[in-house]
Amino acid sequence: MEARSRERAEARQAQRIAAKGNYAAALAVRDVDIDVAAIYPITPQAQIAEKITEMVANGELDAEVIPVEGEHSAMSAVIAAAATGARVFTATSSQGLEYMHEMLYIASGLRQPVVMAIATRALSAPLNIWNDYSDVMGMRDTGWIIIFSETVQEVYDNLIQAYYIAEHPDVLLPVAVTLDGYILSHTVEPLEPIPREEVLKYAAKRPRGYRPVLDPDKPMTFGVVGGPDWYYEAKVQQDLALRESPRVIEEAAREFEKRFGRRYGLIEEYMMEDAEVAIVSLGATASLVKAAVNRLREEGVRAGMVKIRVYRPFPAEQVAKALENVKAVGVLDRALAFGAAVEGPLFLDVSAALAVRGITKPMASFVHGLGGRDIYVKDVVEMYKKLLNIAETGRSEPRTLFYGVRSRMRLH
């Protein structure tokens, strides 16, 4: 079985193409045969909109593309199109995601299977078009399933799986797939696309009417007023759907691996079997952390990494299990949760996941790479060295450590 899937994967090596993340996203959207897209251009995502429109223009994709006048309308239009029964897509970044913020809650509250690509980018002010995760962290409590991509290939694969998940009868929730701004959106890498027929067999369109939609033959009222007597139940019902979604997310990954040979999980463990120190990270940053792990392993340091692929719902159980046996845990954030107990948003999730399970580890919250500040492998190596130190003393760092920031204070 496994040998066969490896064989198939190898056979496809020949079909590798070169693509940047933005193009990979557009290709995925084409291959799942969306019906409606509404996209407002914003750097560094705009190429997705360009490419999709180009595909429609040359007949590669049969879809309605609405060139909306802003992101709020983009999200509104795709929610409405999804409610009409269409397979939909939108993409955004940074301020655009903030601008649609209100509608993010409405997409999940109305249980619409909207799929969105987010080319992650810093938030103003000051204005900054470069990569970090501030934008997507701002949507972490909006009820969306959020999947981070590490490579251009993952952008493509995650988006295809997103449709499988979002439209699954047991889920019916919106899904966001990230691609690190520039670092994936504008970086050319090898990509193995899947033949369109096979994509459509995997992320098959379901018959109209399997879920409630706007239909004159079966009129229903969507988006009602829920008073104090029912609002609470509606919200808990929604939360439970999100909480239960990993079952389908894992099913989508298993089915994907069976057909296309590439394996995905809620998290990815790298060199964790015997790791003494581990860093938890996200997205394309995880590549750098892996490179740092490789370097440290050459020096004989038992370093490991845990990559969070599915950030929402947070895979607390898996994360706790992966970190159970290490001596110290670091979390690398590229965003700030201003004023929080510890300012790394991912750190807050990881520490809560451990604490409620009675797992106490010396921990450190690392922040780096805000607003496109380059992180180098050597910076991550330094973080691991700090962790070794912490493992020895057994004492957590009570404050977030800011790596790479220029300061006269000692901030790390």
């Binding site: 590798r16 193409i17 070169a18 670092i183 050319v188 380059d374 492998v377």
Partner: protein, 192 residues
């Protein structure tokens, strides 16, 4: 093959970013791993721009700017050595768009108080581009020169990638291929 890291220097509008992308695509076509990315940000016509390429047999994890390139490709003759020589490995190669010979180019670098790398290649890409494309867009010519001077990719896979890249502008495929070939054959390389 071990890791090769390449940095392109040009000005916005000359196609340095395209050159990096086409080069990576050619390497990927050959079954290698490659990564091409610009110096991130909004590209403005005329402003100096950078683009990076990494090529390897193994998966590339280092998503960081190239600080110590093995090869530097200079698309614009007006750029000064103090910019493009930065971090270039002494054992490396620089491919420069200039009417100068490699020896003259090396001398020019020395005249700026810098040591040229082990190999210096030169090509008059501007004249070649003007001749074949009617415009000083030298990116494809410089790729031809790079293929000749470095062997990081085969000329054939480069040409395939150019055809693919300009798929939707078939008119300019032929002129670009002619430019690549002339650049390939007219590039001079001197290694110390």
């Amino acid at each position: 093959m071990t890791r090769v890291e390449i940095r392109f220097h040009g000005r916005g509008g000359q196609g340095a970013v395209t050159a990096a992308e086409v080069l990576a695509a050619a390497a990927i076509r050959e079954g290698k791993y490659a990564m091409a990315f610009p110096e991130y940000g909004a590209e403005r016509r005329g402003a100096p721009v950078l683009a990076f390429v990494r090529i390897d047999d193994k998966v590339i994890l280092e998503r960081e700017p190239v600080l110590e390139p093995d090869i530097v490709v200079v698309l614009d003759p007006s750029l000064v050595p103090s910019i493009y020589m930065r971090g270039l490995k002494p054992s490396g190669l620089t491919v420069i768009n200039t009417k100068k010979s490699p020896e003259e180019a090396a001398e020019f670098i020395r005249s700026h108080g810098l040591n040229p790398p082990r190999c210096v290649a030169t090509v008059d890409a501007t004249s070649i581009a003007l001749k074949h494309l009617g415009a000083p867009i030298v990116n494809t010519s410089m790729l031809g020169a790079l293929a000749r001077a470095s062997k990081v990719v085969e000329l054939d896979s480069l040409e395939h990638s150019i055809e693919e890249y300009f798929e939707d502008k078939p008119r300019i495929i032929e002129p670009n291929l002619r430019a690549v070939e002339e650049a390939y054959s007219s590039t001079e390389v001197v290694c110390l």
